[in-house]
């Protein structure tokens, strides 16, 4: 009995985590941003879109790479979701009133990478 507790703990977690891999897609596209603060905003905001599993935004290349579940969210919805955070993507431009409310250091249309 006692060993069953350990084994069931192990295998149930294993099965659980494998299952979530099946419908995953890997994509990469441009998201505008200039600083570490932008990185936090883009990554945290994108992760909160339902269906997005993993995000990494690279400050140097302005490229976002993400893994998402195509059954739960479409690529278009992701682009739209990110632009609503105030960061324009290669597909959608951020609404200007949201862009204007970004922290000063993130105003990527006028600032260099820093």
């Amino acid at each position: 009995m006692k060993y069953i507790i350990i084994l069931s703990l192990f295998f149930s977690s294993l099965g659980f985590s494998q299952q979530s891999n099946l419908k995953s897609l890997n994509v990469s596209f441009l998201v505008k941003g200039v600083c570490e603060m932008c990185k936090d905003r883009i990554e945290n905001g994108t992760l909160k879109l339902k269906g997005v599993k993993y995000v990494n935004w690279d400050i140097i290349s302005s490229n976002i790479s993400l893994i998402y579940n195509s059954k739960k969210i479409s690529l278009d919805e992701i682009h739209k979701g990110i632009s609503l955070l105030g960061h324009s993507t290669s597909k959608y431009t951020a609404p200007s009133e949201i862009y204007n409310s970004l922290p000063d250091c993130c105003l990527y249309e006028t600032l260099e990478k820093h």
């Binding site: 990469s28 936090d40 992760l47 993993y54």
Partner: protein, 736 residues
């Protein structure tokens, strides 16, 4: 296995793109440019050029345009058509401001606002502040950990955290439990300080991943890695007490995947020091040798990393009465502590490059620790053979906001002990297998959480769950609350954890006989704590204040009772035992190059002895600590001066009863200690340091008491202050 390593190497070398970046300096010479960002256009694959301007980058399948970027220079993009070397000369960009200076230095002790657990990271620069020599001594400049002499003859320093002795800490080396059982007392002193890359100190119950043993906290030691450590390093140290140390490290990168390092340490002390004229050596004469060979294998394309390490150490100490110019009317009291230890470990980690949030780790370690020792007419021999292995899998639920870790540990320990007059033998085997699961909610937002549970099946401790939880709440950018709660258990290795009992004449008694550990029951405790940190700006300079309050409550503990003169008793706790610790830290950047840190600590550590509820003996109720570090501005060639000053005030401590300590009325006087160090850095390759410990020279007047060293009243373990006066040292470091 080995064959596949070789083929991988060849394969990957073909797919690495190399080159060199340089620029034309003011005197029109070509100079290498370090730190240039090199990446494939529209990808995440990038690297930095090294100190010689060299860069290496794996070929990209999706891009053939390589971008070079560096602040103050024009961006360059080249088309890569052939797999040959590309050497680039960067051109000044006249449109960018002439010069940008960044003068924020990385702190040597770092506390994070974002980590859920109360973890302090100690860098190797901080370790340099206590130049000598091993990690048990390196904590003297760190306020979270207290360092005390454990007795007057062995020269061993022991660490305490949250008011509790080191056995209640889980000490791991790269997450493999390390300093435990037989090596509990001397183990930290067997890790040379120069081998250490960094340390992580966790206050409170810690993570379930590494086992059930941590009660008051965890210390994890990360050793130097052959791939990232400098190719050659030498450190030489000597002090006025006759201690000489040498450390030599060599690292070699064999190819893109494989690198190896050889680390050597030796120390020798042949001087007979009896500065306090009590007839006993103030510190042992000693001789030690330590060798470590480490292999590192990395394959970034396949996402694997692996380590293999083999280590051997030998340490000999001679202690006792100084026989040099004395006429004895009886046999001298002498002692010897000889230790041999062999260690080996293997680690393997795999991250699927296309699914970066899933990873698998496996590690195993074997050690054989043998100590043969005698103290006067008492013997203590212990041999511990240990095997440990763990398997851990990291993944996510839904998104990387919700991470999970789960896995298994197996551990096996075989102890053989011969105690006292060579007539008492103990043999015990501890075996356990455990499964753990840890969930963390991890975002940079206001709240985060780590909750873990493990279930262990242990042949002597029984079958049990260990739950632990950590929470973080950050209402404002510079304010963070942390809370932790958890349980911990351990088997009590009463002799190896309390070896200072052998350097006394006390009669050893074990008052219980039904338990599985020398007749005693296992120890079990509950730890909870709250921490609050507030950052501030005064005069445009950064500082912060931290309040930590932690409580450890014991369900069962093995009471080590020093209360009766001539006797030392072990028994199961019957009643209360707790350790409440309050710590307030203030840190402030006074001016550009001067950082000041101050700490106040209050420990309320009480337990129920047969003779009543009492504060733990030799545990100061109050302590105060201040450290000032300063440096001059670094010149172009890297040269500068570094200064460090530590002041410690240690409050009164309760002393157990002993007729020779009657004058103190049961409590020791308070005293101060000052340590200081000056380092002259000549370049980033060479530096000389000089320093002093206990500069004020405060010592305990009567560290060895009880008259006849073969009588029951003899005691060398009632130590509340340093044994020797000011110690001065000098040393050098060469790094290439």
């Amino acid at each position: 296995m080995f064959f596949s390593f070789i083929t991988n190497t060849v394969y990957s070398q073909k797919n690495i793109f190399k080159g060199n970046v340089s620029f034309i300096n003011e005197s029109n010479d070509k100079e290498p440019l370090a730190g240039v960002t090199v990446y494939w256009l529209n990808t995440n694959s990038g690297t930095l050029s090294d100190i010689d301007g060299n860069y290496k980058i794996p070929l990209s399948s999706s891009s053939n345009k390589l971008v070079f970027k560096y602040l103050g220079f024009k961006e360059q993009i080249i088309d890569v058509t052939e797999k040959i070397f590309y050497n680039i000369i960067m051109l000044n960009d006249d449109n960018i401001l002439d010069e940008v200076t960044v003068n924020k230095k990385r702190k040597t002790i770092q506390k994070s606002y974002f980590k859920t657990q109360n973890i302090t990271n100690v860098s190797s620069d901080e370790l340099l502040k206590a130049a000598c020599c091993n990690i048990s001594e390196s904590f003297e400049t760190n306020p979270s950990i207290d360092v005390n002499y454990s007795n007057a003859v062995t020269g061993v320093k022991q660490v305490k955290m949250l008011g509790l002795e080191s056995p209640y800490l889980l000490i791991t080396e790269e997450n493999i439990p390390m300093i435990r059982g037989a090596s509990q007392v001397y183990g930290l002193s067997f890790i040379p300080g120069t081998w250490v890359e960094s340390m992580q100190i966790t206050k409170g119950s810690g993570s379930v991943v590494n086992g059930f043993e941590s009660v008051s906290g965890q210390i994890n030691v990360e050793l130097k890695k052959p791939y990232s450590d400098s190719p050659f390093f030498v450190n030489v140290y000597t002090n006025n007490m006759g201690r000489n140390e040498i450390n030599i490290h060599g690292n070699k990168i064999i190819n893109d995947n494989l690198s190896t390092g050889l680390y050597l340490h030796a120390n020798k002390n042949t001087s007979i020091n009896d500065k306090n004229n009590d007839g006993f050596l103030d510190n042992p004469t000693s001789n030690a040798f330590n060798i470590f060979n480490r292999w590192q294998y990395i394959n970034t394309q396949k996402g694997t990393v692996s380590f293999l390490g083999i280590r051997y150490m030998k340490d000999e100490k001679e202690i006792g009465e100084s026989t040099d110019d004395m006429v004895f009317i009886r046999e001298p009291w002498l002692g010897q502590i000889n230790t041999n230890r062999f260690d080996s470990n293997f680690k393997y980690g795999y991250v699927n490059p296309s699914i970066p949030y899933q990873s698998l780790g496996f590690q195993m370690a074997y050690s054989n620790h043998e100590q043969d020792s005698f103290f006067g007419v008492r013997n203590y021999d212990i041999n511990q053979r240990s095997f440990y292995s763990s398997l851990i899998y990291n993944s996510i639920i839904g998104s990387t906001l919700n991470k999970i870790k789960f896995g298994l540990n197996y551990s096996y320990d075989d102890f053989d002990e011969t105690v006292d007059k060579k007539d008492v033998f103990y043999n015990r085997i501890d075996k356990s297998i455990g499964g753990f699961f840890e969930y963390s909610y991890d975002s940079m937002d206001a709240v985060s959480l780590v909750a873990g549970i493990r279930y262990d099946i242990h042949n002597n401790l029984g079958n049990f769950f260990t739950p632990r939880i950590h929470m973080r709440y950050q209402p404002f950018e510079k304010s963070v609350f942390r809370f932790s709660l958890g349980t911990g258990r351990k088997s009590s290795n009463i002799f190896s954890e309390n070896q200072n009992i052998f350097a006394t004449g006390r009669e050893i008694k074990i008052l219980n006989n039904s338990g599985k550990f020398y007749g005693l029951d296992p120890e079990k405790a509950f730890n909870y704590g709250l921490s609050f940190r507030q950052g501030f700006f005064i005069n445009n300079r950064e500082g912060d204040i931290t309040f930590d309050y932690y409580v450890t409550d014991f369900d069962n503990q093995v009471v080590v009772d020093w209360e009766t003169q001539g006797e030392l008793s072990f028994y199961n706790l019957d009643g209360k035992s707790y350790a409440k610790s309050l710590q307030v830290d203030i840190e402030y950047q006074l001016i550009d190059n001067v950082l000041i840190k101050s700490t106040f600590k209050n420990f309320d550590v009480k337990k129920q002895y047969d003779s009543g509820l009492k504060q733990n003996p030799l545990t100061p109720k109050n302590r105060f600590f201040t450290n000032i570090e300063a440096s001059t501005n670094e010149k172009e060639n890297g040269s500068k001066w570094k200064f460090d000053l530590t002041y410690n005030w240690i409050g009164t401590q309760r002393l157990p009863n002993h007729t020779e300590l009657a004058d103190f009325n049961g409590s020791s006087p308070s005293y101060s200690l000052i340590n200081s160090q000056i380092t002259r850095v000549y370049s980033d390759k060479f530096e000389i340091y000089i320093g002093g410990e206990n500069i004020g020279g405060y010592t305990q007047s009567n560290p060895i008491i009880g008259g006849d060293p073969f009588g029951v009243d003899f005691d060398t373990s009632l130590i509340y202050a340093p044994i020797h006066k000011a110690l001065f040292y000098v040393g050098l470091r060469f790094n290439n």
